[in-house]
């Protein structure tokens, strides 16, 4: 079976690392990764705990397919109570770290308590120990990863670490693995920092077993053929990456611009996939090549290089090399949200986000809010240490990225996230967030289903919980009209449940541009005991969704938190197809609660809980 059947429990206060058997009864109900990690967290912590207190736990979890040769099967998730949101946090990352954890012999690592001084976990094929991290504290993700490999004289170690931002409690700090892959959202890096845990370093060569090798290989081969034959996963994503969306979303009038004041950005094409591929005056292009995570046959990743004469790197050779390039969400947040149309400045800011471990989505969106506050005079250059926070100014962007990455100066204020920052300056309505987490790159006035997606997302505003853009804009699996609310409650629920199942399996959600659960179920079934069918996966997905909801309710969230900022509900879009429209959340939410089997107050009914064995 593809679960290792083992978890590692690390008590940071006592300094102990102990093996324990995986609760197989829970694995059969929650599959793995997002689902299983959430089950453990919900069972083990008080949902009301302060996310940065030792009573919170941090779980790194793989899925049963992680470490197998199913396409994209390198994923892992970090599950904890989010520092930014106070809600359930589950941040998914690719790269190679998840595979290494599985091959080191564990489905999951649970960190509890707080270490008396900075440490990192070193785990080599089942042998785990906590190591003094004094020499790495205060160092960036990049330096930490290189330093740990050098210290152990092993370049094949895989490392996930926090930068200075996570140490200093920047509330949207992330955990970065393999230099530029991140468990990005909700401030999981701040939780790691609060535990004095600098890094997790893994080496694993134990292999992963599957239930029925023949059936598994057949299902995996069929899945890979489908990915290769599909125009999106076979050609579009490898060639242009997610960044191809920049012009699409701008054209449909749903590119949130300058803190959601506008929904189209005049500089969109300058920061798009097409611009990344175009030749610059130096004869090179921003995009150097694409890249893949472990076992991935799609390879959507970007590797970029900044023009060496650009002001950001001209004097700093360290940033002149090729490194992790812009994904769509990052390019939007660092660009359209701040009004900055300088591709190399965005690429530099993205490098720094990776280097210091901050979520570019929440950072860029918070900077956009700060720029609006600056424009109205609520923030002055006295607050910012003399830096003019003008919309569209690349230097304001790059300087603030560096300050926030180090948690210094006005960067420490930005590091609070937009909700706390806007409250501090007396303008809470300017925070474009749900449950304290900033929106990603889709304006809910121009894509109605995304309004419901954001409002009901259990981890705060997020596109990856139910990516209805796929249907409403891109026509996958079927095209729906982005400007209407009819049918969106059912669409959102269907996407939420299916995505929760995919996120619990160990594979990447981008496979679902080509795969349905019908393609995924045979791969899981070949790998795992338990007769895994599409119906069973959907049930797991729905169970996970309701479990997350229950966690949040016990943490103190109510239906009142399923709400969008007034700007999206009252200020109509000014241009594009959605001109004159607001998001009509009120039309979708009651139907959504009903379809979920929740009360009109958004509480899962007893029958629903019973049906899902919760």
């Amino acid at each position: 079976m593809a679960w290792t059947g083992k978890i590692l429990r690390v008590d940071l206060a006592k300094g102990t690392c102990k093996d324990e058997p995986l609760r197989m009864d829970w694995a059969k109900q929650y599959l793995g990764q997002r689902g299983l990690g959430t089950k453990y967290l919900a069972e083990e912590i008080d949902p009301k705990v302060d996310p940065l207190a030792p009573g919170n736990k941090l779980i790194m979890a793989t899925g049963p397919l992680t470490g197998t040769n199913a396409s994209t099967a390198g994923r892992y998730s970090v599950i904890t109570k989010g520092a930014l949101t106070g809600a359930i946090a589950c941040s998914n990352s690719g790269g190679f770290f998840g595979n290494e954890m599985k091959n080191a012999g564990y489905d999951m690592i649970i960190f509890e308590g707080r270490a008396p001084k900075p440490v990192y976990l070193y785990l080599n094929n089942g042998d785990a120990k906590l190591v003094d991290a004094a020499g790495f504290w205060g160092k960036s993700v990049w330096d930490t990863e290189e330093g740990i490999k050098a210290k152990h004289q092993d370049p094949l170690i895989r490392v996930a670490s926090i930068g200075v931002a996570g140490e200093k409690g920047v509330l949207f700090a992330c955990i970065v693995n393999d230099m530029h892959r991140a468990a990005g959202r909700s401030g999981v890096g701040a939780v790691m920092g609060s535990k004095n845990l600098k890094a997790v370093a893994l080496r694993g060569t134990l292999g992963v077993k599957v239930r029925d090798a023949k059936a598994f290989m057949a299902a995996v081969a069929k899945g890979k053929q489908a990915l290769a034959a599909n125009a999106v996963t076979g050609q579009g994503l490898p060639k242009y990456g997610t960044q191809v969306l920049m012009n699409v979303i701008n054209e449909v009038g749903a590119l949130p611009t300058r803190n959601h004041r506008d929904s189209q950005f005049e500089g969109a094409n300058k920061i798009s996939a097409e611009a990344m591929a175009a030749k610059r005056p130096d004869g090179k292009s921003n995009l150097v090549t694409n890249a893949a995570c472990f076992a991935c046959t799609i390879a959507c990743g970007r590797v970029s290089q900044i023009d060496r004469t650009h002001y950001t790197v001209a004097e700093r050779p360290k940033y002149q090399v090729a490194s992790g390039g812009l994904e769509y969400e990052a390019a939007w947040a660092l660009g359209a949200a701040t009004g900055v149309g300088d591709l190399d400045a965005l690429t530099f800011a993205n490098f720094v986000c990776n280097e210091q471990g901050i979520d570019p989505i929440s950072f860029g969106a918070t900077l956009g809010a700060a720029m609006e506050l600056y424009e109205m005079g609520a923030i002055t250059s006295k607050d910012t240490g003399g830096i003019e926070l003008k919309f569209g100014d690349p230097k304001a962007l790059t300087e603030m990225t560096e300050l926030t990455g180090r948690g210094e100066g006005f960067g420490a204020i930005l590091g609070l996230g937009s909700k706390r920052m806007c409250e501090k300056y007396g303008k809470p309505e300017l925070s474009m967030a749900v449950k304290g987490q900033e929106f990603p790159a889709y304006d809910a006035r121009g894509i109605q289903g995304m309004g419901l997606t954001y409002a009901t997302s259990n981890r705060g505003a997020c596109h990856l919980r139910s990516y209805t853009v796929s249907s409403e804009i891109l026509g996958v699996p079927v095209k729906t009209d982005p400007l209407v609310t009819e049918g969106k409650a059912a669409l959102v629920k269907a996407f939420q449940d299916a995505t929760a199942a995919v996120d619990s399996a160990g594979i990447c959600v981008f496979t679902t541009f080509a795969w349905t659960l019908d393609d995924i179920a045979p791969q899981i079934d070949g790998a795992c005991e338990g007769n895994w069918t599409t119906a069973k996966l959907l049930e797991v997905g729905e169970r996970v969704w309701n479990l997350e909801r229950q966690f949040n309710m016990r943490a103190g969230f109510t239906a009142k938190d399923d709400m969008l900022p007034a700007r999206l509900l009252k200020d109509a879009a000014k241009t594009g197809p959605a001109k004159g429209l607001v998001n009509q959340l009120g039309k979708m939410l009651p139907e959504y609660y009903q379809l979920r089997g929740w009360t009109p107050d958004g509480v899962p009914s007893n029958e629903t809980l019973k049906r899902l064995a919760l």
Binding site: G236, L237, Q243, E274, Y467, F510
Partner: protein, 83 residues
């Protein structure tokens, strides 16, 4: 009359030489359909996945009958996605 045709991703190469910003102002005859204009650029219909007129999707079934108006923006993508 003039419309603006915008071709993105792999369709960029169908733009006339010298076109910048993925677009070309194009002279069309009144009554020309979306499909006709796209054929004029040599675009294979199966490559025209996402076809938008002023940002609004035109389904494949309407592309041969839907006419364009002066100043319309016709934007086209092959099958692409992101997230």
């Amino acid at each position: 009359m003039k419309v603006v045709v915008k071709l993105y991703a792999m369709l960029e190469k169908y733009l006339p030489p010298g076109a910048a910003d993925n677009q070309a102002a194009t002279e069309i005859a009144p009554g020309d359909s979306v499909g006709r204009v796209l054929a004029g650029f040599g675009l294979p219909p199966e490559m025209c996945h996402l076809v938008l007129v002023n940002g609004v999707f035109v389904p494949p079934s309407e592309r041969m009958t839907r006419t364009l108006k002066e100043g319309n923006h016709l934007a086209v993508w092959p099958p692409v996605a992101g997230g």
